[in-house]
């Protein structure tokens, strides 16, 4: 079969490992959103003493590369400490899968990001976040890169939706190059707020539209 996916990817797609949900997990995260395309959730349990990931599960509302990456990332992370797991990159996942089509990179990046977010969630919930850095425009921009622009199917930064970012006294103001009554305006706005408001020194996120 002349598939763009190799046999390892197809095998993980057909029989994804560690799928499902953990009830009351130690850490969890969701990346993406149904309004904007692929979405992936990840749940993990961590040994409080050794900080080893003892159980990990994922759910995917996504394409083959999203599902296969979710599967491989759970395999790579299981049994590792959270510090080790944090270092797992998209390249590691892609290599373990024997390579992914380039055009599908963004679908699989989501599955890698969700692991990091779930670990971060675990750390935040368990008082393990030590180094608190001030939120900068760069940090906001980095987080907005995880928000998909459903008009293009790529993230909102890459598609030049973000016109302005201001950070002032715990308030982040984002101006989007989109009319307020646009079909996807609300979905993008909600997604952007969700990504920014969890930053420790931010207490308000304002999203404005151009017309």
């Amino acid at each position: 079969m002349a598939s763009p996916y190799n046999d390892i990817v197809l095998e993980h797609f057909k029989n994804p490992r560690n799928t499902g949900r953990i009830e009351n997990p130690d850490g969890k995260a969701t990346e993406g959103s149904p309004a904007c395309g692929d979405m992936v959730s990840l749940y993990l349990n961590v040994d409080p003493e050794t900080k080893v990931i003892t159980d990990i599960k994922f759910e995917s509302y996504g394409c083959a590369s999203n599902i296969a990456t979710g599967s491989i990332i759970t395999e790579l992370a299981k049994g590792k400490t959270i510090e080790e797991a944090k270092k797992i990159t998209w390249q590691d996942a892609s290599e373990a899968l024997g390579g992914l089509p380039k055009i599908k990179a963004h679908c699989s990046v989501l599955a890698v990001e969700v692991l990091r977010s779930a670990i971060q969630n675990y750390e935040e919930k368990h008082g393990l976040v030590t180094a608190k850095e001030d939120t900068t425009e760069e940090i906001v921009r980095k987080r907005l890169k995880k928000v998909m622009n459903p008009i293009k199917g790529l993230d909102m930064v890459a598609t030049h939706l973000v016109k302005e970012i201001d950070i002032n006294d715990g308030v982040v103001r984002i101006v989007l190059d989109l009319p307020e009554n646009h079909q996807f305006a609300n979905a993008i706005k909600e997604d952007a707020i969700e990504k920014i408001e969890s930053l420790w020194d931010i207490n308000k996120v304002i999203v404005e539209f151009t017309d």
Partner: protein, 387 residues
């Protein structure tokens, strides 16, 4: 080769052997160009074959044979219709064109190209079933409007527009009307003595005919400028080597389509839709329940993604298509689903199944049962799939 369940007949169809039988001699016996009546015998015979094919296809539309030209397919036909009218009338009458938002790419991108050349284009929206609104169309027509291009049947969701009313409106306002009938020609009644349309795009590739041959109906006296320079072929409207085997194969393909076959396609289409709605929860029909092309079923399966479905189906030898962004080369979600007001989520899980002559009811049952199994499994691993 393993058994293939081909349910992508709106994209391309398997050639019928009876079509192959008529085009083969044109490659080996009467292979020459079509010459004028003063040419050699072989060339005169080739011309006769070409003209007979033209006559048959024109007749199928209720047209005269000098109102039908051959092209390389739908894309070229629609390019010629839009750009040819623009070139003929742009300076004389005006530079305004109206197309629907859910047109197939040849019309949509021809319109965009004309926009870059200084034309103004209105992209007419559609309702939740995919229908344009006549009153809105009427309100958009100005004295500068030279052409309205609204398809007959939609390529993705099958919605059939009321082209008779659209044509009457356009003609009442003195505006030319083009329709892309790629997905309706021979499948849905279309007669130019009844429907006031000036230009019609048709193609053989959706009718079990050869690829690379299409046609454009051009009502007498329609202003149209040539865009493909070459010889004086096709009433001097399209230069280039006559594709005589293609033309003859196209005519044969059209001839082989019967009312009974169209009825059979409709039964398979309706079976797909009713079985899916019986067996699979949380689904949504895209397009109108009855005003749709006989071959088209398009359904959104909530909580799952289309490329994942098509890839699983492919492992069973089942070929379908999806409006999901993940499936397309451009990574853009279907503009048709967006046009009917669907969000990304609706396009994400949309699957188009289109039937043809070589599908059977047994295949339909197998495909839907397999689909039900796959959707159930994918929902088990979806964060949205659990209730």
């Amino acid at each position: 080769m393993e058994k293939v369940y081909y349910f992508d007949n709106a994209a391309a169809t398997r050639l019928d052997e009876r079509v192959l039988d008529v085009l083969t001699p044109l490659y080996f016996d009467r292979y020459s160009v079509a010459t004028s009546e003063f040419g050699y015998s072989l060339g005169i015979e080739a011309r006769e074959a070409l003209e007979e094919a033209r006559g048959q296809l024109a007749d199928a539309l209720g047209a005269s044979s000098n109102e039908f030209i051959f092209t390389s397919g739908s894309a070229e036909s629609s390019n010629l219709a839009l750009k040819g009218v623009a070139k003929a009338l742009g300076a004389k009458k005006g530079k305004h064109i109206i197309v629907s938002k859910i047109e197939d790419f040849p019309v949509l991108y021809s319109a965009r190209t004309l926009e870059k050349e200084g034309f103004t284009v209105d992209y007419l929206g559609v309702d939740a079933d995919g229908f344009i609104d006549l009153k809105t169309l009427e309100s958009l027509i100005t004295p500068e409007t030279i052409l309205v291009s609204i398809q007959h049947g939609n390529q993705e969701i099958g919605t059939i527009q009321d082209i008779k009313s659209i044509g009457e409106l356009c003609h009442g306002k003195g505006v030319l009307f083009h329709t892309d009938a790629t997905h309706t020609f021979m499948r849905v009644p279309l007669d130019v003595t009844d429907i006031p349309v000036d230009l019609i795009t048709v193609s053989a590739h959706t009718l079990h005919g050869p690829k690379g041959i299409g046609g454009l109906y051009i009502r007498k006296k329609t202003p149209l400028a040539k865009i493909m320079d070459g010889g004086f072929q096709e009433f001097d409207l399209r230069g280039g080597m006559d594709n005589i085997p293609g033309a003859v194969g196209f005519a044969k393909a059209a001839e082989l389509i019967t009312a009974d076959e169209n009825q059979r396609l409709m039964e398979m289409r309706d079976k797909i839709i009713s079985m899916v709605f019986e067996q699979i929860p949380d689904v949504m029909l895209n397009g109108h329940p009855s005003k749709r092309t006989p071959q088209n079923a398009n359904i959104t399966f909530h909580y799952v993604e289309g490329e994942s479905i098509t890839l699983h189906l492919d492992m069973y030898g089942i070929a379908v298509s999806t409006g999901s962004a993940c499936f397309s080369r451009s990574l853009e979600a279907s503009h048709v689903i967006a046009g009917i007001g669907g969000d990304h989520e609706r396009a994400h899980g949309s699957i188009r199944l289109t039937v043809g002559r070589f599908n059977t009811m047994d295949e339909v049952v197998f495909v839907v049962e397999t689909l039900a199994k796959i959707v159930e499994n994918l929902r088990k691993i979806s964060p949205l799939g659990r209730k």
